[in-house]
């Protein structure tokens, strides 16, 4: 599905250069359900942006399917995002002046699907997340859990091969979080690859595999073993 090899990323802050990702090697198979964990500043958001083709990397290779994602034009990047990737954000990022239905239909607008067809398909996806009756409501009239369901429907409508969820439960209570994770599991069971960035180990536990980042590096099995036996040390570093 996707493969990163020796990916490095630097941020230039004034005269300093911050090395945020160091030689990242990650492979995710088709249909996997994977969690990316790490403390804040570990580079997990940067990794997610690179995976989502929202950000560039400085060296290494990122293969999405059979496509090498490197120095794409903005239009190409937009095209891949539209066709291959569905995003789910912590703060939902629904457009406040559009109804649930219109929000879900938006990716199809950029695919050039006609309005009628778009709204019809969007209706089906809202049905799938259990919000058929909320189609004409604005985001401001919905609860956090409902908004996140709308966002998930929007992420799914373009038939992506990869769902990238950035702290999808970060703004939700534990009961709602559970429901959202159920929904993501369901999606995974239909064969779509799902990547969840989280710092919540309960969320990570619902996935098949967890990739841990520390200081811009993927932690090896050995490092994991060490930090598991000495939890205090892990916190200190």
């Amino acid at each position: 599905m996707l493969r990163l090899s020796k990916v490095n990323k630097y941020y230039r802050v004034g005269t300093h250069s911050l090395h945020v990702l160091r030689d990242i090697d990650v492979e995710v198979a088709d249909g996997e359900f994977v969690a990316i964990m790490g403390a804040s500043g570990s580079g997990k958001s940067t990794l997610l942006n690179i995976l989502g083709i929202l950000d560039e990397y400085d060296s290494g290779e990122y293969w999405l399917g059979d496509t090498l994602i490197r120095s794409l034009s903005e239009s190409r990047a937009a095209h891949y995002r539209n066709r291959f990737i569905g995003f789910v954000f912590q703060s939902f990022n629904l457009l406040p002046f559009k109804t649930a239905l219109e929000n879900v239909a938006l990716p199809l607008y950029y695919q050039g699907v006609t309005r009628r067809k778009r709204n019809q398909i969007a209706g089906q996806y809202l049905e799938r997340v259990g919000l058929r009756d909320w189609a004409d409501h604005l985001p401001s009239e919905m609860s956090g859990g409902q908004k996140q369901r709308v966002a998930i429907a929007r992420a799914l409508i373009g038939k992506p091969r990869l769902i990238l969820a950035d702290e999808p439960t970060g703004a939700l209570d534990s009961e709602t979080s559970k429901q959202i994770m159920d929904l993501l599991s369901e999606i995974h069971q239909t064969g779509i690859t799902v990547l969840v960035v989280t710092h919540d180990s309960e969320v990570a536990a619902r996935t098949q595999r967890t990739i841990r980042l520390r200081d811009g590096k993927v932690m090896t099995a050995h490092e994991l073993a060490v930090s598991a036996s000495h939890p205090g040390m892990a916190a200190a570093t």
């Binding site: 942006n49 989502g52 929202l54 950000d55 903005e74 239009s75 937009a78 095209h79 995002r81 539209n82 066709r83 995003f87 954000f89 912590q90 703060s91 990022n93 629904l94 457009l95 002046f97 559009k98 938006l106 990716p107 607008y109 950029y110 695919q111 050039g112 006609t114 309005r115 929007r154 373009g158």
Partner: protein
């Protein structure tokens, strides 16, 4: 001293306008090419109901901002249209004023000397005669010339004119056939005076439309009919009208030779009048100098004596007016386009703020697959739509204001103030281009929105 200065200012203003127009055209071409390219690439979007819904929804979201933008551009267009129309009205008014007489006409009237010359005292009355007319006729550059004999008593209230039981006073001009070119009348029936009228001293008279209306009943043909002017019978040979209106038509023309014979004129003339073709002010002055020089020589007055003969030079007057109106129209253009430019900059600014406010929205759209081009097009379309609608409003308001002015204006200075279709269409095209231009910079900054920053949690 004043005229060269005005000319200099005019030339400078002209240069500025030319530079402005060239720069504007280049920008316009760039904007249009860009628009055309985007349109070709996304022609579907331009006609798409969807796209317009998007635009309308976004515009409707910030009503105050939309209203302010609309007002600023509408005001600019309104000022431009209204001032241009008013300028046209002034121009029409001037042309109408001049339309009563030939714009290339010169009138030289005999008067009293004010400078002692050749042993003669000041205050001597000068009178021209038929030989002056014959001599002046030979001067190169004069294409039509007439003498005029002033019949005593005619100047104040005209001559008593009778037919049957009806009688009234009408001004009567005793002239040569070429006088029609100076008065710019239109013959609507019969003919004007001819050379044989002059030669045979015929009792022919050409009358204005109001004279006919007064002396004849409806349906009566005046041609060939006899009327009595100051006790002398004359036969009507023609009827004329004048673009200057009834005031210019309440008069009659008779052959100058007949008048000299019938009204005790011997061979005296009071005025020479001629047209100078398309001679400019300088050439016209040369011709006048020759005419006055000949007169001064024959009648022994100082050729520099401005009182001995009175010269009315329409060529110079007309030129002066044309210059003045040209400057007024440039002034109007500068103000109008300035106001409009301010409006367009305002739209650009407001769109810029709108883009800043919508950073998050644009980020979301980009994450969902919006290409930079579609973002650019979205913003430009909003700007074009806003300027277009408000421009239309301003245009309508301007035309309406001109109509009201036309309706209220009672002065002769302003006539039929309006803008022609080409100016309207030009303004509309200009607005679309200006809208595209106003949207261009905000759109570019919108396309540069980084989704990562935009989507970062609040």
């Amino acid at each position: 001293m004043l005229i060269p200065l005005l000319k200099l200012i005019g030339i400078l203003a002209g240069l500025a306008i030319v530079v402005g127009v060239v720069v504007g055209l280049v920008l316009l071409v760039i904007a249009l090419v860009n628009m055309a390219w985007v349109t070709v690439m996304q022609w579907r979007d331009l006609v798409s109901f969807d796209r317009w819904t998007e635009v309308l929804v976004t515009i409707g979201r910030s009503k105050l901002r939309t209203a302010l933008t609309t007002i600023s551009v509408a005001w600019g267009i309104f000022v431009l249209v209204f001032l241009l129309g008013l300028g046209n009205g002034l121009d029409n008014g001037m042309r109408h004023e001049f339309a009563r007489d030939a714009t290339n006409g010169v009138w030289v009237q005999a008067n009293k000397t004010s400078v002692a010359h050749d042993g003669y005292d000041v205050g001597r009355r000068i009178t021209f005669d038929n030989r002056d007319f014959d001599r002046a006729q030979k001067i190169a550059g004069i294409d039509h010339i007439s003498g005029q004999y002033f019949i005593r008593g005619n100047r104040y209230g005209g001559m008593m004119t009778k037919r049957g039981g009806k009688a009234n006073s009408f001004e009567i001009d005793a002239v040569h056939p070429d006088a029609i070119y100076l008065a710019t009348h239109t013959i609507v029936a019969g003919r004007f005076l001819t050379a044989s009228d002059i030669m045979q001293r015929r009792k022919s008279v050409v009358v204005g439309q109001p004279v006919v209306q007064f002396l004849f009943g409806p349906g009566e043909d005046p041609i060939g009919e006899w009327i009595e002017v100051a006790g002398v019978p004359f036969q009507i040979v023609g009827v004329f009208t004048d673009p200057g209106g009834a005031e210019q038509e309440r008069k009659m023309y008779i052959p100058v030779t007949t008048a000299q014979l019938a009204f005790n004129g011997a061979d005296r003339l009071g005025m020479l009048e001629f047209t100078v073709g398309d001679a400019g002010p300088a050439e016209t002055q040369l011709i006048i100098d020759q005419v006055v020089g000949q007169l001064a020589e024959r009648h022994q007055f100082d050729s520099t004596d401005r009182q001995a003969v009175r010269v009315h030079n329409n060529v110079e007057q007309f030129q002066r007016f044309k210059m003045m109106f040209w400057m007024i129209s440039i002034f109007v253009m500068v103000i109008g386009f300035g106001t409009l430019a301010a409006g367009v900059v305002g739209v650009s600014n407001i769109m810029m703020i709108a883009v800043k406010e919508r950073t998050k929205e644009i980020g979301v759209r980009k994450a969902l697959g919006a290409t930079p081009r579609s973002i650019v097009f979205m913003i430009i379309q909003e700007a074009v739509f806003l300027t277009g609608i408000s421009g239309l409003l301003g245009l309508s308001a301007g035309v309406l204001a001109l109509e009201i002015t036309n309706w209220l204006a009672t002065t002769d200075f302003i006539r039929d103030p309006s803008i022609d279709l080409r100016v309207g269409v030009g303004a509309a095209l200009f607005l679309v281009a200006a809208g595209a231009l106003a949207g261009f910079f905000p759109a570019r900054s919108a396309a540069k929105v980084n989704p990562i920053h935009a989507l970062r949690d609040q």
